[in-house]
C-alpha cells in the first residue's frame, strides 16, 4: 500500500469536493417563482389597465378579454392569423361564391384541446350555434351570425349570408375574432357568467395557477399539443401585472421580465442599465387624427374645417410623439394605406390634406366668410369664434401638444381655441356622445386592400343626436353623397375595380369635406429582454403588439448563455 492514511484522506476529500462541485454546477440553474428554471420560463409583464380578472378564462366577456393572465394569447387560438397576409391556424382557408352570398370555411383537422380532448367539427358547430343563441346576452362574436345559416360537410362549413358580404371572413381572421370553444366544457353554461375555470382552449399551454392577490398566472407547456411544428420553446409561461413604470424599470434592469410594454421615455435608461434589453418598435396600426363636430357652426362648414387642418403642424406633433431613431414618424396623407389604387393622390394634393400653411388657412377663412374684426375672426352671426379642443394625457407628448400647437396657430389667424384636458373615462364618453368641438381620436380597422373602416364611420346612420352614443366617427357628419358611396362599398368585393374606383371617390370626398383630419402615425413598442430568450426582431409580423403573444411565442428561441 503506497497510499498513506493522510493521502487516502486527501483523495477522499478531493473526490468529495469534486462531487459537491459537480452538484453545485448541476444546481447552478437559477430558479424563479418557487421552482421554475429561469432559462425555461418566459415572463410577460403585462399592464392591464382597469380590468383585473384572474379567475375567469371566458373568451366571450369583454372585461376578461383585456386581462393580464395572458389566456387570450397563450391558449386561445384564432382561425387565421393576419399579418401582411393570412396564415392558416384552426382553419385552413375560405372561399366565396360568385355573388358573395356564401362563404365556405375549411377547418383544420386533428387539433385538440389542452385537456386532451379532440377539437372536432362538433365543437365548431356547437360554438356557432351557441353564439347565435346567446346573441341577445351582450357577448362578443355573436352579432355577425345574425340571419346567417350554415351547413357542414366533411371539414367544410358553408355559411349562407342574408346579403352579399365580401368581408364575412374578417370575423375569422386575426386577434379577437371568432374561434371555437370546447363543447364538453361550455355546453349548458351561461356565456356571461361562466368562468371556464380550468382554462380549456386549444393552445399549447395548460393552467398551473392564477392568483388575484399577486396578479400572477403560471402556464406550463403541454406535450400533446396538436401541431408539433409549432411547439413553442418556453416550458413555462408566467404572466404578471407589472408595477408602475417607476418601479418596473428596476425589475427590467435586473432581467426579471422577458416581454412587456413600457413608456418610450424610460427605454433609453433601461437599455443602458441592461444591455440585454431591446425595444421592438413598430408603427401603430391605428393612426391618430382630429374629429370635428359638424353640427356646431362654424365647424359645419367644410371650408372652415379645412382651414383648421391647414393650421396643424403635423410634422412637429409627429416628431414629439415618436421615439427618435427607431421608425421615422409618418403622416398619413393616404389614410394609412400605401396602395395608390385606394386613394386619390391628386385630391390629397388639391385639398392639402397634410399641409401646414397658416397663410393659406387665413386666405381660406377670408374666402369662406370669416373676416377678421378687431383681431378676431367672427362667424356668420358676427360673433367671435371660440372652440374647445379636447385631449387626454397618457404621457405621450403627441397626444397633448397638438392642442396647444393648434391653439397657438389659430390665435395667430384670430381664432380662439381652448385646449381642454379630460380624464380618460369622461373622454371616452364625451367622444362617442358628440359632446365636443374638436377631439383627438385614433382610427383603427384599416386593412390592407380594404380601407372601408376609414369611411364607414362617416355614414349618416351614425349621426345621432348629441348626447347619444354613436358607433361611428362621432362628429355627426351627414352627407347623402358619402352615404351612397359607402353603401355601394359595403356590397362590393374590395378587390374589384369598381370598389377601388369607389374608394378613390370616397377619398376625394373626404379630402374636400374634412369631417375629420389626419394627424400622424405613432410608433409603439414592446420591450424584449434577450438574456434568456431570443428570436424576436423588428420587422417580424406581430412583434410589436402584446395581444398577439400567441403568434410571437413561435418565434422564441432559447438564448445561448
Amino acid at each position: 500500500m503506497y497510499f498513506s492514511k493522510r493521502g487516502l484522506m486527501a483523495i477522499v476529500l478531493v473526490v468529495a469536493l469534486l462531487s459537491m462541485l459537480s452538484m453545485a454546477v448541476a444546481q447552478d440553474e437559477e430558479l424563479v417563482f418557487g421552482d421554475l428554471p429561469r432559462s425555461e420560463t418566459f415572463i410577460v409583464a403585462s399592464q392591464a389597465p382597469h380590468n383585473d380578472v384572474w379567475d375567469s378564462f371566458n373568451y366571450y366577456q369583454a372585461p376578461t378579454y383585456n386581462n393580464a393572465t395572458g389566456y387570450a394569447n397563450v391558449i386561445v387560438e384564432p382561425s387565421f392569423i393576419t399579418s401582411h397576409d393570412f396564415h392558416a391556424w384552426l382553419a385552413q382557408s375560405w372561399e366565396y361564391n360568385e355573388d358573395g352570398t356564401e362563404m365556405t370555411l375549411v377547418i383544420t383537422e386533428g387539433a385538440n384541446w389542452n385537456d386532451g380532448m379532440p377539437l372536432t367539427m362538433d365543437d365548431w358547430l356547437f360554438t356557432l350555434q351557441y353564439n347565435q343563441e346567446n346573441a341577445d346576452k351582450g357577448i362578443a362574436w355573436s352579432s355577425f351570425l345574425r340571419d346567417v345559416t350554415w351547413s357542414a360537410e366533411g371539414n367544410e362549413i358553408t355559411f349562407m349570408l342574408p346579403e352579399p358580404n365580401w368581408r364575412f371572413h374578417y370575423n375569422f381572421t386575426g386577434i379577437g375574432t371568432f374561434t371555437p370553444v370546447p363543447k364538453h366544457v361550455w355546453e349548458g353554461q351561461d356565456p356571461t357568467t361562466f368562468k371556464n375555470p380550468d382554462a380549456i382552449h386549444s393552445g399549447p399551454y395548460r393552467l398551473v395557477s392564477s392568483n388575484a392577490d399577486t396578479r400572477t398566472t403560471i402556464w406550463e407547456r403541454r406535450d400533446d399539443y396538436w401541431d408539433p411544428d409549432r411547439m413553442p420553446a418556453p416550458k413555462y409561461m408566467v404572466w404578471l401585472k407589472r408595477p408602475e413604470a417607476d418601479v418596473a424599470v428596476f425589475e427590467w434592469e435586473e432581467g426579471n421580465y422577458d416581454l412587456g410594454r413600457m413608456p418610450n421615455s424610460v427605454m433609453i435608461r433601461m437599455m443602458s442599465a441592461n444591455p440585454h434589453i431591446k425595444p421592438l418598435v413598430h408603427q401603430d396600426p391605428c393612426p391618430r387624427g382630429l374629429i370635428f363636430n359638424t353640427t356646431i357652426p362654424p365647424l359645419d362648414d367644410n371650408l372652415f374645417r379645412r382651414a383648421l387642418g391647414l393650421l396643424l403642424n403635423r410634422q412637429a406633433v409627429a416628431n414629439l410623439a415618436n421615439v427618435p431613431g427607431y421608425v421615422t414618424p409618418v403622416l398619413w396623407p393616404n389614410l394609412g394605406d400605401p396602395d395608390e389604387t385606394y386613394y386619390d393622390a391628386a385630391a390629397a394634393e388639391e385639398f392639402q390634406v397634410t399641409t401646414f400653411d397658416p397663410e393659406a388657412a387665413a386666405a381660406l377663412l377670408d374666402e369662406a366668410g370669416y373676416p377678421l374684426v378687431d383681431g378676431a375672426r367672427v362667424d356668420k352671426n358676427g360673433e367671435p369664434i371660440s372652440l374647445d379642443a379636447l385631449y387626454i394625457d397618457i404621457g405621450n407628448p403627441g397626444w397633448t401638444v397638438w392642442a396647444w400647437l393648434l391653439s397657438e396657430q389659430a390665435q395667430l389667424v384670430g381664432i380662439e381655441i381652448n385646449p381642454r384636458l379630460l380624464d380618460i373615462p369622461t373622454f371616452l364618453t364625451q367622444g362617442p356622445n358628440g359632446e365636443f368641438d374638436i377631439i383627438f381620436r385614433w382610427f383603427c380597422g384599416n386593412l390592407p386592400g380594404d380601407p372601408i373602416a376609414l369611411f364607414e364611420g362617416l355614414h349618416s346612420d351614425h349621426a345621432l343626436p348629441i348626447g347619444e352614443r354613436s358607433g361611428g366617427v362621432p362628429g355627426r357628419y351627414s352627407n347623402p353623397e358619402m352615404d351612397a358611396i359607402i353603401e355601394q362599398l359595403r356590397t362590393h368585393n374590395p378587390a374589384s375595380e369598381e370598389a377601388q374606383a369607389l374608394f378613390r371617390q370616397a377619398y376625394r370626398l373626404w379630402a374636400e369635406e374634412a369631417p375629420y383630419v389626419t394627424l400622424y402615425g405613432e410608433n409603439e413598442g414592446v420591450v424584449f429582454n434577450t438574456e434568456y430568450w431570443t428570436g424576436l426582431e423588428v420587422g417580424q409580423a406581430w412583434v410589436h403588439w402584446t395581444p398577439a403573444a400567441r403568434q410571437i411565442i413561435d418565434f422564441l428561441e432559447p438564448a445561448n448563455r
Partner: protein, 359 residues
C-alpha cells in the same frame, strides 16, 4: 399627591353621579340617532353623486367589447349589448327608483350591492370583502401605530419645546408631513427594495405562493407588509406628531399647569396627568378622521406596492365608472369614519370629564 387629587375629584363627581349617568345615557341615545341619520344622508348623497359623474360605464364597456369584436361594427348588435347590461345593472329605471332599489337590496338583501363592472360577473360585495382585509390589515394598523408614535413623540416635543432636539424633530416632521406620500414610498422602494435589497418591494406576498398556514407564506406576508406600512407611517406619523405638539403647546399655557407645577408636582406627573390628557382629546378625534381618510389617501401606496386593497380597486372602478363598486367602497369608508367618530364621541366623556357637562 396624585392620590390626594384623585380623591378630591371623586368626591365632587359623586355628587352628581346619578344625574350624570342618566345624562350620559341620554346623550348616547341621541348621538346614536344622529349617527344613523348622518350615515343615511351621506350614503344618499354619495349615491346620486356617483350616478351623475360624467362618463358612462356602458360606453367604456362597449369600447372594450368592440375592440374585442373584430372589425365589422354593427350598430344593432351594440344596442343589444347595451340593453342587456343596462337591464342587469338596473340603469333603465328612473333615478329615484334606482335609489330605492339600491337601499332595499343593501339593507334587506344582506348587503347586496349589485354586480360589478370591474370583475363582471363578480358581485360587488364579494369584491369589496376580498380586498378589505388588505387595506384594513396594512393601512389601519399602520395608521394606528403612526398615531401612537406620533402622539407620544408630539407630546414630548411640545413639552420640551425649547430643547434643540425638539426643534430638529419639528423641522424633520414638517418636512415629512408635506412630502408627497408617493415620494416617500418610491424612495423606500428604490432604497430598501432595490439598492439594499433587504425587503421585497411589491405585492402582498411572493408571486408563486398561495395563501395557506405555512411558515413560508406567513413570513413572506410579513416581509411584504413592512415597506408599505412604513411609508404610510412616516407621513401620517409626522402629521400626528406636529398636531400633538401644537395641542400640547396650547395646553401648556393653561393656568392649572402652572398651578400644578407650583404645587411641586414632578414635571413628569404634570406632563402625564395634566397636559397630555387635555391635549389628547382632539388628537383622538383626529385619529378617527385619518383612519377614514386612509382609504382615499393611501391608494397611491397600494398602487406603488401592488397591494390588492380597496384603494387600488377604487382607482380601477373609477376608470371604468363602475358605480356599484365605487359606491360600495365609499359606503364602507363612510361607515368606518362615522362609526369611529361615534365611538370617539362616546368615549370622549370618559377622557375629559368637562365634556360630560356639554352632553
Amino acid at each position: 399627591m396624585t392620590a390626594n387629587i384623585d380623591a378630591r375629584a371623586d368626591e365632587s363627581a359623586t355628587e352628581r353621579q346619578d344625574a350624570g349617568r342618566r345624562e350620559v345615557f341620554q346623550y348616547a341615545i341621541r348621538r346614536f340617532g344622529v349617527y344613523l341619520f348622518t350615515l343615511w344622508a351621506a350614503i344618499t348623497v354619495a349615491f346620486f353623486i356617483f350616478r351623475l359623474v360624467p362618463g358612462d360605464p356602458m360606453n367604456i364597456l362597449l369600447g372594450n367589447l368592440t375592440r374585442a369584436e373584430g372589425r365589422q361594427r354593427d350598430a344593432a348588435a351594440e344596442e343589444a349589448i347595451i340593453a342587456h347590461y343596462r337591464e342587469i345593472f338596473g340603469m333603465d329605471d328612473p333615478l329615484p327608483l334606482q335609489y330605492v332599489n339600491y337601499l332595499r337590496k343593501a339593507v334587506l338583501g344582506g348587503l347586496d350591492l349589485g354586480p360589478s363592472f370591474v370583475e363582471y360577473p363578480a358581485q360587488t360585495k364579494d369584491l369589496v370583502f376580498r380586498r378589505m382585509p388588505w387595506t384594513l390589515g396594512i393601512f389601519t394598523t399602520s395608521v394606528f401605530l403612526a398615531w401612537l408614535i406620533g402622539t407620544g413623540l408630539g407630546a414630548l416635543i411640545g413639552w420640551m419645546q425649547r430643547h434643540g432636539l425638539s426643534q430638529l424633530a419639528v423641522i424633520l416632521s414638517t418636512l415629512l408631513q408635506i412630502t408627497p406620500q408617493y415620494l416617500v414610498a418610491l424612495g423606500l422602494i428604490i432604497y430598501a427594495g432595490y439598492t439594499l435589497r433587504i425587503l421585497p418591494a411589491g405585492g402582498p406576498y411572493a408571486r408563486h405562493l398561495q395563501p395557506e398556514w405555512s411558515w413560508e407564506f406567513i413570513s413572506s406576508l410579513i416581509q411584504h407588509a413592512i415597506l408599505p406600512m412604513l411609508s404610510n407611517m412616516i407621513v401620517i406619523g409626522a402629521g400626528f406628531t406636529l398636531g400633538m405638539r401644537a395641542l400640547m403647546i396650547s395646553v401648556l399655557g393653561e393656568d392649572y399647569l402652572t398651578f400644578a407645577r407650583a404645587k411641586g408636582l414632578s414635571p413628569f406627573t404634570v406632563l402625564k396627568d395634566y397636559a397630555f390628557r387635555n391635549a389628547l382629546i382632539p388628537q383622538v378625534t383626529g385619529l378617527a378622521i385619518i383612519i377614514g381618510a386612509t382609504l382615499n389617501g393611501t391608494f397611491i401606496i397600494e398602487i406603488l406596492f401592488q397591494y390588492p386593497g380597496l384603494g387600488t380597486l377604487f382607482v380601477q372602478a373609477m376608470g371604468l365608472r363602475d358605480f356599484n363598486t365605487m359606491q360600495a367602497i365609499v359606503l364602507f369608508s363612510i361607515f368606518a369614519v362615522l362609526t369611529l367618530t361615534l365611538i370617539v364621541d362616546l368615549a370622549l366623556p370618559l377622557l375629559d370629564p368637562r365634556i360630560r357637562r356639554v352632553a
